[in-house]
Amino acid sequence: MERLRKYGFVAGFLAVPLTLYTVFVISPYVQAFQLSLTSWNGYSSIVRYVGLDNFGRLFEDEVFWRALRNHGILLLVLPLVTIVIALLFAFLLNLGGGTRGAGMQGVWGSGFYRVVFFFPQVLAVAVVGVLFQAVYRPDADGVINGVLARFGLDPVGWLIEPDLALWSIIAVMVWQAVGFYVVLFSAGMAAIPKDYFEAAALDGAGRVRLFFSITLPLLRDTVQVGWIYLGIAAFDGFALIQVLAGDKGEPDGATTILPITIYNTAFSYQKVGYASAMGVALFFLTVTFAVLTLRTTRRERVEL
């Protein structure tokens, strides 16, 4: 009886959010799975089932594979670069100043840097996109190319050379994400008892040693979370790539990604069923990635 009352109380609180979640998150997913088995065009009220045909087509779809290749690059590069830079900055901001007076502290002016690092995070993706359009503009009116032109260098087609475009976009993604992870890792570092560092410092450990022997191992969980977030971000990139590169994977499919391909397939080519199949594929890719990351990085928690 006691138990029932307790769970009834909890259930009462959970009912509303669970219902909302089911209606607005779970049910669209279920519908997407269902639609992926059809050839629905988004207009008709009659829906024809085609079984797994859509998935068969996926395997022969050049654009799909191109998108996967680009996601692969994003998945390898984006989390790695962002986390390395964010860790470095977070370390410098929090512990990089060495011991002074009472304990460990960041480099001089770290309070100011902390705010500045966070700036890009506050900007909407569309704003970032437009901003970097100006930065990457391929003629001498571009911000970077304008500087290059001063030194007598030829303008670089950041977004129009197939070898450069995706990297240029990854740079923007890193630029935007770093601030958030600096804050995240700073919080993680703040949770590490200061005496660990002080003891190690007294024993003569330098900053590099402090970082690799104490900070990084104790930040493991936080970094893991960051890795998953960034991995999932690597499966998105919709707005940024749409604004910077356009919606057809310009140039030459170098920036093709699944979300944009799905959007085009559904809303430009009216193949909602086929687009849903791509969505389902994307869903499984994302879930697989998250599970793999969690599995491979699982380890005993270090008790503080």
Partner: protein, 480 residues
Amino acid sequence: MTHPGEITRRQLIRRIGMTAFVAGPGAGLLSACATAGGGEPSAAPATSLPASANPRNPFGVDAKKPLEVAIFSGAYGDSYAKDLHEELYKKAFPGVTITHTATQEIGTQLRPRLVAGDPPDVINNSGPKSMDLAALAAEGHLADLAPLFDAPSIDDPAKKVRDTVTPAVIVNANVSGKDLVLNYTVSHRALWYNAALFADKGWKVPATWEEFTALGETAKREGILLFAYPGQKGPYYQLWNVLYTAAKIGGNQVILDLDNLVDNAWNAEPMKRAVTVWVDIQTRYGDKAYFGLDHTQTQIKQLQNKVLFYPVGSWIENEMAKDKPQDFEYAIAPIPEVTGSDKMPYGAIQVGVGENFVVAAKGKNPQGGLEYLRIMLSKEGARSFTEKTKNVTVVNGAAEGVDLPAGLLSAARAQDRAGQNIITEARFEGWYKELFDYGTEQINVVMAGRITPEEFCANLQKKADDVKRDDSIAKQTRSQ
């Protein structure tokens, strides 16, 4: 996103026979959740409304019924509807309430409303997010405009509306065998240049490819590019340009073959030749930076006299009106003679009708919708549109006496000179959008020199073959 001329009948006739789908098990349930409204599958064709005998109110409009008008707010803006056409409608039916919706995302905003059975009465289906009309037609969402075309004209009740508009309107109204779309504007596409600059420098508009490249050399010495197109947001401008050049070399049949998915149509000699000569122009007189500029940036460069020729349509003048310096005078130039024995003589340009308007069959006031279009097609409605947007409508003679800007006058004169030599529009753009989009992607690749013209043609042919084989895409044909 302001390309009104981009979509002359963008999404036509794609899915005839859509309603012949066989519903599989559970389809009823699925459609109920997927289409938000579901209900009985409506295989009903376009709704025909009974015409009334009264020439002043041929559709029997109920003056008390409110009307909703949805306008794509692109280069024409939406005030022509709000301040002109809707006011005329209110004058005809005093006291009526009109809801005006303006959006740049026609499909995104309206498709759910159509599917849910709550559409606006009049829809200006244009812009990059315009809706697939053939699919809407197959669902019975579009009202039959035949009663409109057969209704008496507002200006002369003795005349039918169909006799007051340019004949291309009637030809292009047809979707899936019925007259469902009204194309409202006329546009002219070829190469656009600054006539004032040419007069100033004493340059002659090139009529042959030799003169064209010679001018390219002259311009190069002055630091001006002969030609550029926007590689980022408007590569289709260059795809059009290449298609029209091919049609000029080999006649309109080249484009008809592409539209009809004729085997090896993309590998035809005129097509290869057209791509080759333009790639050559890009290599010798172009600047690769333009591959990364959008249409506005490119058009600004032209206004700064950094680019001589730009492939676009007559909407350019209005689109750039705010930025155009006083001493810049837009004028149209036909594509120069390429081979010396082109099928179409020098002077051939593309003249098309565009800017789609449809009436929702399942709306609350389809009669009002038809009447609204009839008002748009009145001399007053058309003339005021031209005055406001500086674009010519399909209504015959409605632009007479209107003070037209230089570019439009130039286009009108070019059309007179072209006479019967009008380059036809490539309709696969609306029929097989995947093929068209692929073309706009590949045109950048070939113009940038990353593939050869032969490879471009072969790639497009492969895509066209894929479309031809794909049973899920309804095929269209044209004979003229």
